[in-house]
Symmetry: C2
Subunit: 337 residues, 2 copies
Amino acid sequence: MIPINIYDVSKAAGVSIATVSRVLNGAPHVSEKTRRKVLSVMEELGYTPNMFARGLGLGTSRTIGVLCTDTSDLYQGRAVFYLENELRAEGYMAILCCTGRDLENKQNAVRLLLAQKVDALILAGSRYIEPIETNNAYIREAAEQVPVVLMNGSLAGENLYSICCDDRSAVYNAVRALLAQGRRQIHYLYTNHSSSGNKKRRGYELAMEDAGLSFEEKEHYCRKDIAAAQETLAQLHEQGVPMDAVVTSTDALAVGAVKFAARAGLSIPKQLAVIGYDDTQFAQCTQPEITSIDSRVDYLCHMTVKLLMEVLAGQDAPTRTDLPARLVVRGTTDFEN
Amino acid sequence: MIPINIYDVSKAAGVSIATVSRVLNGAPHVSEKTRRKVLSVMEELGYTPNMFARGLGLGTSRTIGVLCTDTSDLYQGRAVFYLENELRAEGYMAILCCTGRDLENKQNAVRLLLAQKVDALILAGSRYIEPIETNNAYIREAAEQVPVVLMNGSLAGENLYSICCDDRSAVYNAVRALLAQGRRQIHYLYTNHSSSGNKKRRGYELAMEDAGLSFEEKEHYCRKDIAAAQETLAQLHEQGVPMDAVVTSTDALAVGAVKFAARAGLSIPKQLAVIGYDDTQFAQCTQPEITSIDSRVDYLCHMTVKLLMEVLAGQDAPTRTDLPARLVVRGTTDFEN
DNA sequence: TTGTAGGCGTTATCAG
DNA sequence: CTGATAACGCCTACAA
């Protein structure tokens, strides 16, 4: 079947293509009568405007490039889901690139996306900000062509917008709550040095500092892996390191902590409290279930798209936004609430 | 900065736009000399072909529509990750739509994707085949415009390709293994009636039948939710229903089964064996870790894209492919191997 | 309010 | 091997 175009419609409706184009774009100065006529003809012919032609003239594809490192990560999978839905609700399609963590792949993906004429870029996840500043140049360059929104990562610059969960405060408050219960041997497990990872860690450090406690020897790096977390804690335990709480940068690590406690015969939350991060389904896998910091991806994604829409509409928008997290209390802590 | 086009290149290289277009598309009949010249000019000017214009002429966008119901599902998140990567490796971008389970949303997504001029559609997940045949009409219609590949779902028809994990055999074999150990009270937990869900269940039923055992009262529907599975089993247990093994259609349910056993004081795998499905990270959350059927998403996705590329290349390809799964043995079973 | 005509950047079909 | 030139389908001044 031959695709039908604006000429076919104009012919069938007995008007010019200009008029068809006008009703198509809801332009003014079209009599209600012809408008209706054209609309009905389009319907009847099953006309669908050709995106290529439209794009050629308008220079826009109503398409947004969404980058993340890996959708098989529970958190990112949720982020992509919400982002895509919010975008589609606004009439935009999402072109996805799962780039992995390799810088070169990220750069390539951005290049391809720009070549596809996306209207904007959303970089989802703190992994897109490289510690070495010059490695972020490609993001700045991209921003010369289209607006770029960094979700959970921040970079200042022209046409660049950052929107983050306030991870620092979230962890700070969680650790404060543990301290308020008299816990002192609070350990922190983390898996990476992404900007968001650093903010979380900083929250922990500040809380400890404010309580006059040292933390250097209580921060432990480990792979993002249930077994790795379990192993790390088991070793510390064997060495006789005191420990009455574990806060982790990811729920998966918290699962490892719970498994460690079970094996070491430590009762949760009595002898060991555990707090995870992101409130993913992992938090519900264990017995008891895990108290976790909910970074509210849905809200974050909603605000991200809202921000982007404002930018695309030419309004000015905040270049930097911080959103609060909240604590979801479950069985691995014995908080009042 | 003004985008530079093929005319700029032709001018700077001292050739016609036709020649530029030729080297751009690797067409033959271009002298090595001019080819090099043009290439270097393109490089130097930083020329990027305009997708809209190219699409207008060629009618192709080098873009594939990828549909799934929800990327926040661990399995689907992995599927999308692999699909996107395989596609990009082949030079195609992926436009993602997370449609949810609602039929109307699926239809809308397909319509939008086709309007975007995608070159093909991949429907990921068995949720795209509706039990009521007429509800699949929109898929058939889509197939009139572009090839459609169903991953883990099957539908026969023109320009329609199905590629599935052989779920039935996978579950059949797993249940056989349990039976071989003398287990007889094998229960099956499932969450939906998708085509893949039905195949799994059928595998269970066949294995039981072949062993001369009844199964009707041992199949239990429950929400796709750790707590729901736990609850379902707890109730059966209270009612005194005998049970020495549980096979589930999803790892999450298996987690629920393990939690149930822990609470009911049943030792795993001695008194109760558990087998999950998909070998997701959930299988590693519990103590002991869960034996799970690995449907090998990565392999499935790889074959899916490979199949699609053949179709797009105009070669003929199998309209139906079945791929084997494999059992990953862990602590919730006491199989030899 | 409506129609005409030129342009957007490529590809492709012809001649040369 | 290379160069004009006509599509491709739509948008948008500019005219009427």
